[in-house]
């Protein structure tokens, strides 16, 4: 799974007929009704669609946080459906980074400690951890803020800390569920520039859910969800034009 692969080669992620049903009987909710999707290494994909169309459910499954009810999920060519909780935790730890709408930082914990968190679980030594965490914070433009707690940072800065935490393990994929949902337009564009850089420069594959067409326009591919199914899946001509 080398980074910055040619998008035409073997897909990094493959979904075949993924379904997800919550609850049973009358309370049954069919959140995903058969999703087929292929994502190659190095792609920047935006996922759009109305509220309740299953975007988050799909992201959680893609991020090994949840298991599908049916269908097959291939990651790096290997099927992951049969893996247990701890094996999925190891996949998250080594290959993924998450960015959430609500930042999900540990409260009353410094930015540096927040960014170090995934490295702690990798069992990395403290000194090395600190170096990598500082580097990651510098990369998102937060040098000098290492000791700030989330409450001492603006929303945009907190989201940068979350991105630093996502990239500190040098992941293959970043999964971002409405990363700009809580931010104003100017801050949103800053975050998008950051993510774009990570995709273009570092070759990290990015999957991002967003409601805003302006943000989706940063991606080179836009998938529309409707009612638990993929409605459209198109190359984004604007991004392609920008890249030229």
């Amino acid at each position: 799974m080398s980074k910055g692969q040619d998008p035409d080669s073997r897909p990094l992620i493959g979904l075949e007929g993924i379904t997800k049903i919550y609850g049973t009987g009358d309370a049954e909710v069919r959140a995903l009704r058969g999703i087929d999707m292929e994502i190659s290494g190095g792609e920047f994909v935006a996922v759009m669609g109305p509220s309740g169309s299953g975007k988050s459910t799909a992201m959680n499954i893609l991020g090994f946080l949840d298991k599908p009810t049916g269908g097959r999920y291939f990651f790096g060519g290997a099927e992951v459906g049969h893996l247990n909780r701890d094996q999925l935790a190891l996949l998250r730890r080594n290959f993924l980074g998450f960015v959430f709408q609500g930042y999900n930082l540990l409260a009353r914990t410094s930015a540096l400690d927040n960014v170090e968190l995934p490295l702690i679980y990798q069992g990395m030594a403290g000194s090395k951890r600190r170096i990598l965490a500082r580097e990651a914070l510098a990369k998102v433009g937060l040098e000098g803020r290492e000791d700030h707690h989330p409450a001492q940072l603006s929303g945009g800065q907190q989201q940068r800390v979350a991105i630093a935490r996502a990239i500190v393990t040098n992941p293959d994929v970043i999964l971002a569920d409405e990363p700009t949902g809580n931010l104003d337009t100017a801050r949103s564009h800053e975050i998008m520039d950051l993510l774009t850089g990570l995709n273009r420069v570092d070759g990290i594959t990015i999957l991002m859910v967003t409601h805003e067409p302006d943000m989706a326009d940063y991606a080179d591919r836009i998938i529309h969800f409707l009612d638990g199914r993929i409605e459209t899946d198109n190359r984004n001509r604007k991004a392609a034009a920008d890249a030229v």
Partner: protein, 405 residues
């Protein structure tokens, strides 16, 4: 990873320092109680043993009265005929296993010298008392034979009495008053210290037995006889010899009960240490219950903490913590919490033990084994009562946990 877990645990504990303190209070009290009890109990046992060895393990006490009466019960013995000076001589001379026998009659009295007065115990006896109790004269002299025979008012002072009446002055040759008796001080006893009963053994004045009988009790009775046994013979043998001699002298028929008691120091020791160990056991049981309650307190607060930190757990799971890592984190937190309680309890218990031994004037005898046991036991409490909450944290569903507000 363990180091990280301990660091995280300390962070979480200090973040809620006051709540953490309340949580471990049960453990603190339980451990402190055990340590203090065992320390004081061991101290008093040591003291009893030390006393008995200064008193001499080869000492027997003979008193009139029914055998059911303990060695500490009041003198006289009701209807039973009292002992006499002839009994003392008979025991010493006719029983080969007895080295020395001596009478001992005691009464609480006020001793006055100049402006100083002090309420003490006056014991009427003879010089054999000093031999029997291996008690040395450190100033002046023992009684003269003539003083003993005629019942002269001559006194030998214990150190406490000397100190209070005379301070730094020399008491030898001075005349003190015991009620209406003017008594000449002839000697000073060596310091003995406190006894296992907590009484000050140096709080005593010795006078000749005949002086006591004539001028204080007003009769010929001997309240108690001390008999010291030769080293080569067993206590049981000497006891049996004394009993049969006394039965004979007191004309007790073959089917009649004794109307006197012979106690040995072992009996007194075992009685005292018995009381101590019953008390220690009882309070240790109370302490164990409080440790259990402490453990439940820890479990309760850990459950609250796990619920409060659901979102945090979700974040940890999302960034790749395994079930085991989350379990370890919360388990270590519970263990650290209860170990902190255990350590505070150990320190508090030792402090209370020290205070208690000072108050009871017994040796401070901290027991390393029990301190270590208390430490390990509090770790165990943390493991046992921390496991369930930790497992609950580890088994959380990451999505649900992240969604938790």
């Amino acid at each position: 990873m363990l180091y990280e877990a301990v660091r995280l645990a300390l962070q979480a504990i200090l973040r809620n320092a006051f709540r953490s303190f309340l949580t471990v209070l049960g453990i603190v009290i339980g451990v402190a109680a055990v340590i203090a009890m065992v320390t004081v109990g061991q101290g008093s046992t040591d003291q009893v043993e030390a006393d008995v060895s200064t008193l001499g393990t080869n000492l027997l006490m003979i008193r009139p009265g029914q055998p059911s009466q303990g060695p500490g019960s009041g003198g006289g013995g009701g209807t039973a005929a009292s002992l006499t000076l002839k009994d003392v001589d008979a025991i010493e001379q006719q029983i080969s296993s007895v080295a020395v026998a001596t009478p001992s009659n005691s009464r609480g009295m006020t001793a006055i010298y100049g402006n100083a007065n002090y309420s003490t115990t006056v014991t009427g006896t003879d010089n054999r008392y000093l031999t029997a109790r291996s008690w040395a004269i450190v100033g002046g002299r023992a009684f003269y034979e003539s003083e003993l025979r005629t019942g002269t008012a001559a006194c030998i002072l214990g150190e406490t009495v000397r100190q209070i009446l005379f301070g730094n002055g020399d008491p030898i040759g001075a005349s003190i008053r015991l009620k209406q008796i003017a008594c000449r001080v002839i000697g000073i006893l060596e310091v003995k210290g406190a006894s296992s009963f907590g009484t000050d053994q140096d709080d005593i004045i010795l006078i000749p037995i005949r002086t006591f009988q004539r001028r204080i009790s007003g009769n010929q009775d001997v309240a108690m006889i001390y008999a010291s046994i030769r080293n080569s013979v067993s206590t049981e043998k000497a006891k049996a010899d004394i009993e049969s001699l006394m039965r004979e002298r007191r004309r007790i028929g073959p089917f009649e009960e004794d109307d006197f008691n012979v106690f040995d120091m072992k009996q007194i020791t075992s009685m005292l240490t018995g009381i101590t160990s019953v008390l220690t056991g009882l309070l240790s049981a109370v302490a164990a219950v409080s440790l259990l309650v402490g453990g439940i307190g820890i479990m309760n607060i850990m459950l609250v903490s796990v619920t409060e930190r659901t979102r945090e757990i979700g974040i940890r799971l999302a960034v790749g913590a395994t079930e085991r890592q989350v379990l370890m984190q919360f388990l270590v937190e519970a263990i650290v919490l209860s170990l902190i309680g255990g350590l505070i309890g150990i320190l508090l218990g030792l402090a209370l033990g020290l205070l208690g031994s000072r108050l009871l004037s017994i040796p401070f005898a901290p027991d390393a084994t029990i301190v270590l046991a208390a430490f390990l036991f509090s770790a165990l409490v943390g493991i046992v009562f921390g496991y369930f909450p930790a497992r609950r944290a580890a088994r959380m569903d990451p999505i649900e946990a992240l969604r938790h507000q």
